[in-house]
Every structure is written in structure tokens, then in C-alpha cells.
């Protein structure tokens, strides 16, 4: 406790000193920005201060001084903008009724995904719930694959077989529709990593709503018992669907809910804090100390899903306030401009490029064809002879004409 207080104390002295040198644009952004000062280092690397992480059962945690180079700055900005634009496009498609069913948007939470990905190394895995479009893209799918999956087209990540909640890439295990199911699944992926003696982690994400699931505690118990390299990460955006955290959880300190598993609370709107914390957490896990629990304090601008306007359980003012003062992209943009890591022109060029990428993806997502009827019967079993599949009537029972999507796509020239 005392360590934490003295950090805050030091922080205050530092920020007051730096305030003398702060640019006006920063002071306009409010007190939060004063806590994130920067110091120019040699060449194109800048050092920033991030909000300290709250710690649970840990003597030390991630550093609050973070360095960022120009290349990374531009990459992170671009990555967050792609997700923002892609989700925006998805929202519009949904309103035009080109996407059916569920559509859960990630807008506002970009720093969590981009920051964590920045700390991942080859072989690390991720599993999350249904707010997964941004993660799917980050982990290897193209924007076209994501948007076309939402519109159910052949160019989609899984050609329209899965939809919004069921997209997969290498080392990315979805996209899971049942709240909490991914918690033990992620621990299982980590078990496989340990079994194979890999120096990797499985980042297992869930929301504040899912943080109360019993299977999280079951998974945490086994992860700790067996020293599984799993990072349980709660993306706390304040609401489980329409229920604010105070109304769902007897304890809203989600980073402490692992009890005997140490935890870190991170400012999830600050991509550098997220990256640093994730790097630190990975080192912890890789050194064989077992699982860690993380809580990313973040926010979602849209409702729970596209069928939720998101204003019956919170005010429009609250949403606007967060957009104005805590937006992960704007905040990052200000930092990298004021520290001269990037110029307005460079960022504008990136914006233009991103817009083009998303627009091109949109074109395919709205015009590509859908899988032919035979696709209904594919992907039932792996490496098994073709099965007779009962149809809506006995007369429509057929033997699988193709066993897998891959076979079918090849046959119709869409390999």
C-alpha cells in the first residue's frame, strides 16, 4: 500500500514540474493528460509516463515509464484506426440490414487489443468472447475476411459458416458465443503449451459480466494448481450488457478476483500502459510462475450489441465525456504529435489509407457471393468418410457431396 502511495506522490511532483513545460494543447485535454508526460530521448524514441497499475498479491509490477519509437507509434495508431473504422463499417452494414443476428462492436476498446498484441510473441495464443472482430483482424485475418464473414459471404473468414461470433485464425481460438466458455478453453490451450514446453502464453479474455462465471474460478483453480501459462484478462468496459458492474458484482475489483492468483489493474484506454503491462505479465508467466489475472479498465461506445442503443442504462453525456477525455486513439494521437514522433500529415495519410482499405473490404463484403447449398453439409467430421445427412424431409437426405469447405470451394473455383 505504502509503495503505491509513494508512487502517486512522486508522480504528483513529477507532473507538477513537467506542467511548466507542458504544451497548451495538453492542458486543454484535462488533468488525465498531465499524468502522461513525455520526455524526449535521443533520435526517434520518446519516453512516456503511464498511470501506475494497481497490484494484487504482487510486490512489484510493470514500469510506469515507457518508451515508444516512431515505427511503433505509427503502427499502433494505424492498427487502432483500422479497428475503429472496421467496426464503424460493421455498424453501418448492420443498420442497412446486411448483417443479421448478433453484432458486438469493439469501438472504444481498441487500446486493449492493440496494446496486448504489441506485447505478444510468436506462438502466443488468444481466445476471447463475442466482441471479437478487432482481435480477429489483429491476429491475421484481413478486413475483407472480417466484414465478409459478417455479411455471410464466401470471402468471409469462415465463408459464412460462423458469423460475427465464430471467427478463427492461427493461434486465435475465436470468437465464442457462450459467456465464460472461453475461460477454461483458454486454460486448456495454455495446458497444451506447457505440455509441449513452449515459452508462450494464452491470453484469455472475458468481460466484466463473465467475470462472475463459476467456470472462471474452476479454470483459475486448475491454472494455479498446474502452473498453466494463461493470462486471464478482464476487459472491464463498465457494463455486462445493460447491467453496470456495481449491479452485477459484489466485488468490482476484477483484478483481485483471482484471489490466490496475482493480479494487475491496467488503464485500458492507454495503449502504452496495456503494452507494458502485458509484456510484464508475459515475463511473469514465461518464467513458470503460473497464471496472472489482468483487468483492463476500458469503455465501449456502442451498446452491448447492435440491438442495444446503449442509452437506457447510461447517459449520452457519459459516453460523450469518455469520447472527449479518454478516447484511446485521440489520446495516443495527441501524445505522438506533441512528442514529434509523428506529424499531422503522416497521421492524415494513415487515416486516408485505412479508409481506402476498409472501403475496398466493404465492396467485397457487400457484393461477393454466398456458399452454394452443398455447404450446409460440409465440415461435419474431420478425416471421416462422407456421411448421409438427414434433410428436412427423408427425401432430402443426401450423402455429403463434399466433406469440407475447402473441397467445396476448390470445386467451384474459389480455392
Amino acid at each position: 500500500m505504502t509503495k503505491f502511495l509513494s508512487l502517486v506522490h512522486l508522480e504528483r511532483i513529477w507532473t507538477q514540474t513537467m506542467a511548466l513545460f507542458a504544451r497548451q494543447i495538453q492542458s486543454l485535454r484535462g488533468p488525465a493528460a498531465l499524468a502522461t508526460q513525455q520526455v524526449r530521448l535521443a533520435s526517434t524514441e520518446v519516453s512516456f509516463h503511464t498511470k501506475p497499475c494497481k497490484l494484487h498479491k504482487l510486490d512489484s509490477g510493470p514500469a510506469t515509464s515507457v518508451t515508444l519509437n516512431k515505427e511503433d507509434a505509427l503502427k499502433y495508431y494505424r492498427d487502432m484506426q483500422v479497428i475503429r473504422r472496421m467496426e464503424s463499417a460493421a455498424g453501418n452494414l448492420y443498420k442497412e440490414k446486411k448483417i443479421r443476428g448478433f453484432c458486438h462492436l469493439y469501438s472504444g476498446q481498441e487500446a486493449c487489443a492493440v496494446g496486448m498484441k504489441a506485447a505478444m510473441t510468436d506462438g502466443d495464443a488468444v481466445i476471447t468472447a463475442y466482441r471479437c472482430h478487432g482481435w480477429t483482424w489483429l491476429l491475421g485475418a484481413t478486413v475483407t475476411e472480417v466484414l465478409a464473414e459478417l455479411t455471410g459471404r464466401m470471402a468471409g473468414n469462415v465463408h459464412g459458416k460462423g458469423g460475427s461470433m465464430h471467427m478463427y485464425t492461427k493461434n486465435f481460438y475465436g470468437g465464442n458465443g457462450i459467456v465464460g466458455a472461453q475461460q477454461p478453453l483458454g486454460a486448456g490451450v495454455a495446458l497444451a503449451m506447457k505440455y509441449r514446453e513452449q515459452k508462450n502464453v494464452c491470453i484469455t479474455l472475458y468481460g466484466d459480466g463473465a467475470a462472475n462465471q463459476g467456470q472462471l474460478f474452476e479454470a483459475t483453480n486448475m491454472a494455479k494448481l498446474w502452473d498453466l501459462p494463461v493470462l486471464f484478462v478482464c476487459e472491464n468496459n463498465g457494463f455486462g450488457m445493460g447491467t453496470a458492474v456495481e449491479r452485477s458484482s459484489a466485488s468490482t475489483e476484477y483484478y483481485t478476483r483471482g484471489d490466490y492468483v496475482p493480479g494487475i489493474w491496467v488503464d485500458g484506454m492507454d495503449i502504452l500502459a496495456v503494452r507494458e503491462a502485458t509484456k510484464w505479465a508475459k515475463e511473469y508467466c514465461d518464467s513458470g510462475k503460473g497464471p496472472l489475472m489482468m483487468e483492463m479498465a476500458t469503455y465501449r461506445y456502442h451498446g452491448h450489441s447492435m440491438s442495444d442503443p446503449g442509452t437506457s442504462y447510461r447517459t449520452r453525456d457519459e459516453i460523450q465525456e469518455v469520447r472527449k477525455t479518454r478516447d484511446p486513439i485521440t489520446g495516443f494521437k495527441d501524445r505522438i504529435i506533441t512528442s514529434s514522433l509523428a506529424t499531422e500529415e503522416e497521421l492524415k495519410a494513415i487515416d486516408k489509407e485505412v479508409r481506402k482499405e476498409v472501403d475496398e473490404a466493404l465492396k467485397i463484403a457487400t457484393t461477393d457471393g454466398v456458399l452454394p447449398p452443398e455447404a450446409l453439409y460440409v465440415d461435419l467430421y474431420h478425416n471421416t468418410e462422407a456421411q448421409a445427412v438427414r434433410g428436412a424431409t427423408i427425401d432430402e437426405t443426401i450423402v455429403q457431396p463434399y466433406k469440407t469447405s475447402a473441397d467445396l470451394l476448390k470445386a467451384i473455383g474459389r480455392a
Binding site: 460462423g162 477454461p184 486454460a187 490451450v189 505440455y195 483453480n221 486448475m222 461435419l380 471421416t384 469440407t404
Partner: protein
């Protein structure tokens, strides 16, 4: 002289008994051998579940495996089915080949979301990107005196779901060959054993004892050939069917007994071929009748040319439509037996 005769007899019995023990095997030992061989054969295979390691298995099915293979391959779990089934499925996502034991399938209900939504459906939803090579195994159905919450038969529940394979061994040969096939299968397999069958001995050929003996999933076996009536069953029901067939033989009725061996994929062709010969059909199961396996057989028969081959309707022998009571007499009355099968056959054939 008498002593020598005794000695000879004794020697003969020794030779005879060792020859016999080489060619019979309990279902329990068959399952044990299957897992032992597959764990040796493929280092991605491992077993997890409650009491599977140091306790040697709640029903001793995994006896000796932990001593042989160690902590990494035989894992004792806490009593948290949803958690460890989910962990097993996640390990399968990542390319391992777990055998997830449920102490009984009654406890699988706590994990059923992971079995159906995470295991069964993922290959389809992912358009083939993510296969799930996992086996869920354990005893299913009534045991002895364990009452309602520990006696349910889940055959119909799991057979209902596309994406799963559902396997129901009867004999030791079934148990070994089908479990090895299930472990080698790249899909989620629900392997429904039966506690009462664990201790039963069956004759096994040398082929069965080899370490590459595999029985194909989805193919039924004709346990006994016959001409007058087809009795189709699986798991413990096959025992009642065979007992009934023996009784029927003594009154001149020749029954053909089909052991389905798997419920999904379902070998309807074996039933069709048999009924084309016998024109009479009786199904036997120990689970509840409503929307059970017999009901599915009836529906498939109605919708096929087998209907035209029948000289009388399919009759089902099932468990009684009540939760399982405890008292022995009540418990016996809640389950079918060979007598019910004989009665059904007689009704089908319209004989007294």
C-alpha cells in the same frame, strides 16, 4: 495312482486355465489396455478426470496407468467438471488428444455446454479450421442402487447432436477396439460405457490382444445370426437381447441380435439388411422411452423401405418412464430385462 491322476488333473486345469485367461478379458481390462496402448503410441494423448491417477480410477478402469506414464499423461482433476472439460477441449483445440473421463455421465451435465457448444460445433463453425480430437468417456446409465441422480442414460441426449460421434461398446472386444478407434479419431467422441459391464468377461481372439486392434466407428456387429426376428440394441441391452435369444431358441424362435456399437454415425443399413430377412423388429435400450433411441429407430424404419418389409410394427423395450428409485425391487422394476425382450418378440411374432 489316484495321486498321479489328481496331479494330472491339476496340471491339466493349470494349462486349461492359463489358455482360458489368455482368451477372455473383462471390459475394464479392455478399456485399460486400449488407453495404455494409445498413450504409448501417440505422445499427444493424455487422460484427465477425477481420481484417474493416484486412486487408479474410481472404477479402476485406469488402474496402473499413472504409475506407468506419470503426472504429465494421467492427470487428477478437482471436482469441477465444467472447468476440466473446458480445459480438455481447449487442449484439443491446440492439437493435443485428451481423454476426458467423467466419473459417470450424470456429471457430464455440468460440462455439457463445453461438450456441445465448444467441442461438437467448433469444426463446423470454423469451416474446418479447428478440429477437436477429444474423447469424453465414462460409465453411462443405471448402476446398482445409486438412485435417481446417478442412474440416467444419456444415449439419446448425445446421439441427438451433429458434430459428435457417439460410441456404445458392449463386449471387451468392443471396448478395446472402439476406444482405440475413438482416441485415434479426429473428432469429439462421446464414449458411453456401462458400469455393470466393467467386470464382465468376454472371450477375445489374439487379434483383439494386439496393440493395433481397432473396431470401426459407425458399423454394427451381428452378435448372433437368426431368421425370425431382428433384435437391435447397444451397450447393456445387448446382454438382454442375447439372453432372450437363448430363451427363444428353446421354443424354436431364431433371433438375430444386432449390436449397434455406435449411435452416431448410425448403422441403419445393418437393420435394413436384417429386417429384409426376418420381417420382424424389436429394439432394446435401458434409457427412457420418450424420444429415445428406439423412437429414432422406429422413425427411420417408417421413413424407409424397411417399413414395407415388416410383418408387424417395431416394438420397443426400454427403461420405465420414471426417475430411478432406490429400493432394489423398485429399481429392478424400472429397468428392462431379457423377459421383456422375449415378451416383445412373442408379440411381434404373434405367438403365445
Amino acid at each position: 495312482m489316484a495321486l498321479r491322476k489328481c496331479g494330472n488333473l491339476f496340471a491339466a486345469r493349470l494349462v486349461g486355465s492359463s489358455a482360458r485367461s489368455a482368451s477372455t478379458m473383462t471390459v475394464r481390462d479392455a478399456l485399460n489396455q486400449a488407453m495404455d496402448e494409445e498413450i504409448k503410441r501417440d505422445d499427444r494423448v493424455f487422460l484427465l478426470g477425477e481420481e484417474v491417477a493416484q486412486y487408479d480410477g474410481a472404477y479402476k478402469v485406469s488402474k496402473g496407468l499413472w504409475k506407468k506414464h506419470g503426472d504429465k499423461r494421467i492427470i487428477d482433476t478437482p471436482i469441477t467438471e465444467m472447468g476440466f472439460a473446458g480445459i480438455a477441449v481447449g487442449a484439443a483445440f491446440a492439437g493435443l488428444r485428451p481423454i476426458c473421463e467423467f466419473m459417470t455421465f450424470n456429471f457430464s451435465m455440468q460440462a455439457i455446454d463445453q461438450i456441445i457448444n465448444s467441442a461438437a460445433k467448433t469444426y463446423y463453425m470454423s469451416a474446418g479450421r479447428v478440429p477437436v480430437p477429444i474423447v469424453f468417456r465414462g460409465p453411462n446409465g443405471a448402476a446398482a442402487g445409486v438412485a435417481a441422480q446417478h442412474s440416467q442414460d444419456y444415449s439419446a441426449w448425445y446421439a441427438h447432436c451433429p458434430g459428435l460421434k457417439v460410441v456404445t461398446p458392449y463386449s471387451a472386444e468392443d471396448a478395446k477396439g472402439l476406444l482405440k478407434a475413438s482416441i485415434r479419431d479426429d473428432n469429439p467422441v462421446v464414449f458411453l460405457e456401462n458400469e455393470i459391464l466393467y467386470g464382465q468377461s468376454f472371450p477375445v481372439s489374439d487379434e483383439v490382444l494386439s496393440d493395433d486392434f481397432v473396431v470401426p466407428i459407425g458399423k454394427a456387429k451381428i452378435e448372433r445370426a437368426g431368421d425370425h426376428v431382428t433384435i437391435v440394441s447397444y451397450s447393456r441391452g445387448v446382454e438382454f437381447a442375447l439372453d432372450a435369444a437363448k430363451q427363444l431358441e428353446s421354443i424354436g424362435v431364431s433371433a438375430e441380435v444386432i449390436n449397434l456399437r455406435s449411435l452416431r454415425p448410425f448403422d441403419f443399413e445393418s437393420i435394413r439388411k436384417s429386417v429384409h430377412k426376418t420381417h420382424h423388429l424389436v429394439s432394446v435400450e435401458t434409457g427412457w422411452p420418450f424420444a429415445g433411441i428406439g423412437a429414432e429407430i422406429a422413425a427411420q424404419v417408417m421413413e424407409s423401405d424397411v417399413f414395407d418389409q415388416l410383418d408387424s410394427p417395431l416394438l420397443r423395450v426400454t427403461g420405465v418412464d420414471v426417475p430411478m428409485p432406490y429400493a432394489h425391487t423398485l429399481e429392478q422394476a424400472a429397468l428392462p430385462n431379457a423377459g421383456h425382450v422375449v415378451k416383445a418378440v412373442k408379440k411381434s411374432l404373434n405367438i403365445a
